[in-house]
C-alpha cells in the first residue's frame, strides 16, 4: 500500500461565477521511503496538487471528484479537524520562501516552540518548556545547524536565507512526519546554498526513512532528489516514470522539449558563441572602478558598503559579455554604472571612447545603450498599452508622428509579436511576451549596447529558450553588443562569448566560457560550477572537483 495515493483528482476554482478547471484527473502515488518529483512550469497545477493534499486550498477551490488516500483512507471525506491533526505529524511541508514564512517580530525559537506546543496539545501530551527547547535543539542539529541556541535566540532577519531554509525544514521535521512535501525548496537561494539544502534533504530522507514529494520546475533539482517523476502540464499528468527513463527517453513531446530546453553545462550539446572580432577597440571599458555605498546613520558612524572593488573590464563590439555572480556580488551595480544610472565612487566608465562623467547628465546616450530588466512584471507600466510603452522611446527620439504606428509595428515584428499586440495591456500578456515587449522597447532607440539584467530568470525554462534565441537572432541582425548579467552559469556557458565571475565586488576570473568551464582556475569558480544542478550523470562527472576547504573559504555557510 502506498503512503499517499491520489486518484483521478479534479479541482476547480470558481471566482465570480467563472469556473476554471485546474486539476484534471490527476493521479499519483508516493510509496513509503520513495522520493517522488512533480515537475511542471508556471500554472501547471503542481502547487495546487500539494495544497489539495494538505487541505490548504483557497476557499474558492473545490475538490470536484477523485480521492486522496493516506495509508488507504480517503482524506477528501474526512473532517477539517481530522486532516489538521495529520499535518505536521504525519505529513509536513517545506515552504518555498524562507523569509515570508516567518513572523518578523518573533524569534526563531518562539516560532518552533509554538508549533511544538500546539502539536503536543493535539496529541494530548505535555513536556514543559525546557523539554520542548531540548527537542527543538535536537531537531536543529539534525538539519545541521551547528549552534542551535544562537539560532533559537535570533530573529528571522538575523539569519541568512540558507539558514532560514534549514529552520523551515526543521519545522517540518519537528514531529517526525512520514511524508515531506517540499515546494520549490531553495529556489529563492543562490545555487551554492540551494545545493547544500538539497543535499540535506536527501540525507534526511535516507536517514529517517521519509518519503519525499518534491515540487519543482528545476529538472536539475529533480535529478538530485527523486527516483520517480511525474510531469505536469496545464493541470494534467502528461508523463510518469522512473527518473532515468524520463530523462533519457521521454515519451511525450512536452517532456522532451522541457528537457531539451535546459542549457547543457558540459557535453556535445554545448554551444560555443563565436568570438567577436575586436577590430576597433572596446565599446565599454571600465577602468579601476570602485563603488562604495554610504549610509549615514544618526549618532553612529556611517555604514559603508564596498559593493564593487577595482573592477577592470572591456567589452568588445559584438560581444556577449557575461557577468556572473551570486546575489550581493555587485554585478547589478556594475550594470547600473555602465548605464550611468549610478556613478562610480572612483575609476572611470568609458563608453564608445567617451568617459561617462563628461557626458550630459552623467548618463549614457540612449542611442548607445539600453537596458532590459529582470522582472518583466515590474518593468512595464500596468496602465499603459504595449503601443503606448513602445512609443515613448520613439517619440523622444524625434520620430515623426506619422511614422510612430509603422515603427511600433516593425518593433513588435522584430521580437516576434503580431501587430494586434499594440492595444494589449501588460496583464493580458504572458511572462515571455512581456519580456519580448521589454526587449522591443530597448531596441526602439536603435542602441548598440543592451544591458540584459537577468532577463530570463523570472521565466519558465522553455520560454527562456525562446527569448535567448530571439536575443541571439537580434544580435546577428542588428550587430548588437550585450552585457549579460546572470547567476545562471549553464545558460551563460551557451549564450556568452566571454564571461567574468564576480565575488564580493571583485572579478575573480574572466575568459572564454569554453576555457573557464573546462579549466576553472579560481576555487570560487570551481565551487560555483560544481553546485549547479545538472540533468545528466555525464555532466555531473565533468564538473570540476572542489575540496571542502575551498568551499568553506568562499561560500557563506548556511550551517553555522
Amino acid at each position: 500500500m502506498s503512503l499517499l495515493q491520489i486518484d483521478n483528482l479534479n479541482v476547480a476554482f470558481t471566482s465570480y461565477g467563472i469556473r476554471t478547471h485546474v486539476l484534471k484527473d490527476v493521479s499519483l502515488k508516493v510509496g513509503e521511503g520513495q522520493r517522488v518529483a512533480l515537475i511542471g512550469e508556471t500554472g501547471s497545477g503542481k502547487s495546487v496538487t500539494s495544497k489539495a493534499v494538505l487541505n490548504t486550498l483557497p476557499r474558492n477551490a473545490k475538490v470536484e471528484s477523485g480521492s486522496i488516500l493516506w495509508r488507504g483512507e480517503d482524506l477528501t471525506t474526512k473532517s477539517d479537524g481530522a486532516r489538521e491533526a495529520l499535518k505536521g505529524v504525519e505529513m509536513s511541508v517545506v515552504m518555498q520562501d524562507p523569509l515570508s514564512s516567518f513572523n518578523p517580530v518573533f524569534t526563531i525559537g518562539r516560532h518552533l516552540d509554538d508549533v511544538l506546543y500546539w502539536a503536543d496539545r493535539r496529541k494530548g501530551t505535555s513536556r514543559g518548556k525546557a523539554g520542548r527547547a531540548a527537542h527543538i535543539r535536537d531537531v536543529l542539529r539534525r538539519v545541521q545547524l551547528a549552534d542551535p541556541d544562537r539560532v533559537m535566540g535570533a530573529y528571522p532577519m538575523q539569519l541568512s536565507g540558507g539558514m532560514r531554509q534549514r529552520v523551515l525544514i526543521a519545522l517540518a521535521l519537528m514531529n517526525r512526519p512520514k511524508l515531506l512535501i517540499a515546494d520549490e525548496p531553495g529556489t529563492a537561494l543562490d545555487v551554492t546554498t540551494q545545493d547544500e539544502i538539497l543535499k540535506l534533504l536527501n540525507a534526511l530522507v535516507a536517514e529517517e526513512g521519509l518519503s519525499l514529494l518534491m515540487i519543482t520546475h528545476n529538472l536539475g533539482v529533480v535529478r538530485m532528489t527523486a527516483d520517480d517523476v511525474y510531469v505536469m502540464r496545464k493541470g494534467e499528468i502528461v508523463e510518469h516514470g522512473p527518473l532515468e527513463r524520463i530523462f533519457k527517453t521521454p515519451e511525450t513531446d512536452y517532456a522532451r522539449e522541457l528537457i531539451e530546453a535546459i542549457p547543457p553545462l558540459y557535453g556535445p550539446g554545448v554551444k560555443d558563441q563565436p568570438v567577436a572580432a575586436q577590430q576597433d577597440g572596446a565599446l565599454v571599458k571600465l577602468e579601476n572602478v570602485d563603488k562604495v555605498f554610504v549610509e549615514n546613520r544618526l549618532l553612529r558612524p556611517a555604514l559603508r558598503t564596498h559593493a564593487v572593488k577595482k573592477v577592470d573590464l572591456e567589452i568588445g563590439k559584438g560581444e556577449i559579455f557575461g557577468l556572473a555572480g551570486e546575489s550581493g556580488s555587485g554585478k547589478t551595480t556594475v550594470a547600473r554604472m555602465v548605464m550611468g544610472i549610478m556613478r562610480p565612487s572612483s575609476g572611470r566608465v568609458i563608453i564608445d571612447g567617451k568617459p561617462l562623467d563628461e557626458a550630459f547628465d552623467g548618463r549614457v546616450d540612449r542611442r548607445l545603450a539600453q537596458i532590459v530588466y529582470q522582472n518583466p512584471g515590474t518593468s512595464l507600466n500596468p496602465k499603459r498599452t504595449v503601443g503606448q510603452t513602445l512609443e515613448v522611446p520613439l517619440r523622444f527620439s524625434d520620430t515623426p508622428r506619422g511614422e510612430l504606428k509603422a515603427r511600433t509595428e516593425s518593433l513588435l515584428d522584430r521580437v516576434g509579436l503580431a501587430p494586434h499586440y499594440v492595444s494589449r495591456y501588460p496583464h493580458e500578456l504572458s511572462g515571455g511576451q512581456k519580456q519580448r515587449v521589454a526587449i522591443a522597447r530597448s531596441l526602439a532607440a536603435n542602441p548598440r549596447l543592451i544591458v540584459l539584467d537577468e532577463p530570463t530568470s523570472a521565466l519558465d525554462v522553455s520560454v527562456q529558450k525562446r527569448v535567448i534565441a530571439l536575443l541571439e537572432e537580434l544580435r546577428e541582425e542588428l550587430g548588437l553588443t550585450y552585457l549579460f548579467i546572470s547567476h545562471d552559469l549553464s545558460l551563460m556557458r551557451n549564450f556568452c562569448s566571454r564571461i567574468a565571475i564576480m565575488l564580493r565586488g571583485e572579478i575573480v576570473e574572466q575568459g572564454r566560457p569554453a576555457e573557464v568551464f573546462a579549466n576553472p582556475v579560481h576555487p570560487y569558480t570551481r565551487a560555483l560550477i560544481s553546485a549547479i544542478p545538472v540533468i545528466s550523470e555525464a555532466e555531473e562527472a565533468a564538473k570540476p572537483a572542489v575540496s571542502q576547504e575551498e568551499k568553506q573559504k568562499f561560500l557563506v555557510s548556511s550551517a553555522a
Partner: protein, 293 residues
C-alpha cells in the same frame, strides 16, 4: 508544431477591469451605496420636476401653512414660513453637490500636483512639499473655516474656499505616497532611459497609477464635505437664506424643537442619506480597485 510556446496558448485571463467590475457587482453594500448616490444625483439633476413645490426653493412666504406636520401634501412637513421641506431638501442636495464639486475641483488638482512632484523628484522638493503639507495639516480645519468665514462674506463661494484651503493636504499626502512607490518601479527608470521628459513621466506614467486612489478618496471625501459644509452653514458661515441648504435648515428648525421635530429631522435625514451613500460607494470602490486609502 512546437508544444511549448509563450505565444497564444495562455489560459483565459480575466482582464483587470472585468475582475474589478465583478468584484464590485458581487458586493451588495457597494451597490446600495451606488444606488443611493445615483438617487441623490438624480434629484440634483431633475430637482424642478421632482420637487412638489419648486417655487418653495426660494424666498416664498405662506404663513397660512407654516409648521405643518408631515402629510400627503407635504411629506416632510413645512417650515416656519410655510415652505415645503421635502422640496427644500431636494434643492439642498444641489448646494451640497456644488460644494463637493467646488472643493474637490480645487483640492484634487492641487493635491495631486504637489503629491506627484514630491514623490517623483524627491530631495529638496520632497522635503519642502511634505513639510508644508504637514504644517497645513496641523491647522484645525474648523478654526480655519471660521476665520475665513469671518473675514470674508459668508456664502457658498467662501465656504468652498475655506474648505478647499486645507482639504488638498489629504490628497497631497495620499498621492505622494503612491507616487513615491510608483517612481521606484523599473518602468519609470526604463522610461527615463528611453528619454522621456519629466512631464511625460509625471502625467502619463505615474498619474494613471494614481487614478484609482484618487477616485476612491474623492468619493469618501464627498461624504465628509457634505458634513463639513452642513457644519459651516449650521454655524451661520455657509450659505445664506433663502437658499435651501441642509445645514442651515437644521439650524433654523432647531428653534422650534421639540414640537416641530420634522423641521430638524428631515434635513438631517437628507444629510445622513447622502453621506451614507457616498461612504458605502467609496468603500465599494476601494474594494473594487483594491487600493489602500
Amino acid at each position: 508544431m512546437s508544444v511549448l510556446t509563450d505565444h497564444g496558448d495562455q489560459t483565459v485571463v480575466l482582464s483587470a477591469r472585468r475582475m474589478a467590475w465583478l468584484r464590485f457587482l458581487s458586493n451588495p453594500v457597494a451597490i446600495i451605496g451606488a444606488l443611493m448616490v445615483l438617487s441623490v444625483l438624480f434629484c440634483v439633476a431633475f430637482a424642478p420636476w421632482i420637487a412638489p413645490y419648486p417655487t418653495h426653493a426660494g424666498g416664498i412666504v405662506d404663513f397660512a401653512n407654516r409648521h405643518q406636520p408631515p402629510s400627503v401634501d407635504h411629506v416632510m412637513g413645512t417650515d416656519k414660513v410655510g415652505r415645503d421641506i421635502f422640496t427644500r431638501v431636494i434643492y439642498g442636495f444641489r448646494i451640497s453637490l456644488l460644494l463637493i464639486v467646488g472643493v474637490l475641483g480645487v483640492a484634487v488638482p492641487v493635491g495631486a500636483a504637489l503629491g506627484l512632484a514630491a514623490g517623483y523628484f524627491g530631495g529638496r522638493t520632497e522635503f519642502l512639499i511634505t513639510g508644508f503639507t504637514n504644517v497645513m495639516l496641523a491647522i484645525p480645519p474648523l478654526v480655519m473655516a471660521l476665520a475665513v468665514g469671518n473675514v470674508l462674506n459668508p456664502n457658498l463661494i467662501t465656504a468652498m474656499f475655506a474648505i478647499a484651503l486645507l482639504w488638498w493636504t489629504w490628497h497631497a499626502r495620499l498621492i505622494y505616497r503612491v507616487a513615491k512607490s510608483v517612481a521606484a518601479e523599473d518602468y519609470i527608470e526604463a522610461a527615463r532611459l528611453a528619454g522621456a521628459s519629466h512631464w511625460h513621466i509625471l502625467t502619463k506614467e505615474i498619474l494613471p497609477n494614481c487614478i484609482a486612489v484618487i477616485s476612491v478618496k474623492s468619493t469618501l471625501d464627498a461624504a465628509f464635505i457634505i458634513l463639513f459644509g452642513a457644519t459651516l452653514s449650521f454655524l451661520g458661515l455657509g450659505v445664506r437664506p433663502p437658499t435651501p441648504d441642509l445645514g442651515s435648515m437644521v439650524a433654523d428648525g432647531r428653534q422650534f424643537l421639540p414640537e416641530m421635530w420634522w423641521g430638524v429631522l428631515a434635513p438631517a435625514l437628507g444629510i445622513f442619506y447622502a453621506t451614507l451613500g457616498f461612504n458605502l460607494l467609496g468603500d465599494g470602490l476601494r474594494d473594487m480597485f483594491d487600493v489602500e486609502v
